[in-house]
Symmetry: C2
Subunit: 164 residues, 2 copies
């Protein structure tokens, strides 16, 4: 449907999704520009390596699916390495594997998000109780997408400081 | 009005504003935690000083008002120093002055944003022509707020790397 025929609710959802797409596109472009070797560079002395943030952001995106109550994560087994543990504490997949995971995860969330109606965006997410949600209906799926969009920005800002 | 009585459109607007408030709160807390001396620390060797990002983010917030077509900026005269010029290229106000500007700017945008109806959030912003907006109605005020929220995250991520 062309944008101009959208209802206000649809337009709110579309505008928010375009924001996600914008920051995801910038972040993907950044990682695409790194050689496999540069993936092992630290963003600043003693700080995370790019590869850790690459895996971290992929797994945070993957985790949105269960957090929104929309299915199982595809890479739950990588949460330990990229969410629970800091960089260098756990075994991680190769750069090539992570590049494939990045694509797959974001292709999946893209499909899942595109299918949600405005009312479904406003439904409570999986980590808020029915009681809490009744009192705080802003704790909805949309709030997860907004939070993860700014989280992409947070780490992209750090990555831009990386010596190259 | 309690959240639970909101229409879907109002809930979209409220959820987005809560996202802005969250990142603004985190960023304000960070700068509040810095001494005036620490404001002059570089976030990484050879990169921006905290004080520059403090002024930059305040002026970007201030600029939302005219960008949204909601009035004049309060600190247009500081755009040159904090938007057009890089750090150390221009005279900047003192830390105390910038702390006052930060408060005033965000108190003003807070008031202005709280008064907008959902339909007003979906209106075109000042830098998009009527013709372009008809074809691309996602280029609305909401998209500016979303962009500036992730922009706060972008620089907050960098600031967190600052040696302290």
């Amino acid at each position: 449907m062309p944008d101009q025929q959208l209802t206000p609710e649809q337009l709110f959802a579309v505008t928010t999704l375009k924001g996600w797409d914008l920051w995801l596109g910038r972040t993907t472009k950044f990682f695409d520009s790194l050689t496999d070797e540069q993936m092992f560079t630290e963003i600043a002395p003693g700080k995370n390596r790019a590869i850790y943030l690459f895996g971290h952001l992929a797994i945070v995106s993957d985790a949105m699916i269960p957090q929104m109550g929309l299915g199982e994560a595809s890479y739950a087994h990588l949460r330990e390495a990229f969410l629970a543990q800091p960089d260098r504490a756990a075994e991680i997949p190769s750069v090539a594997e992570l590049r494939a995971i990045w694509k797959e995860v974001h292709s999946r969330v893209d499909t899942v998000f595109a299918a949600l109606t405005p009312a479904e965006w406003l439904a409570g997410h999986a980590t808020v109780s029915a009681e809490d949600f009744a009192a705080q209906p802003h704790r909805n799926r949309l709030s997860i997408l907004l939070s993860r969009t700014s989280h992409l920005g947070y780490h992209l800002g750090q990555l831009q400081l990386m010596p190259r």
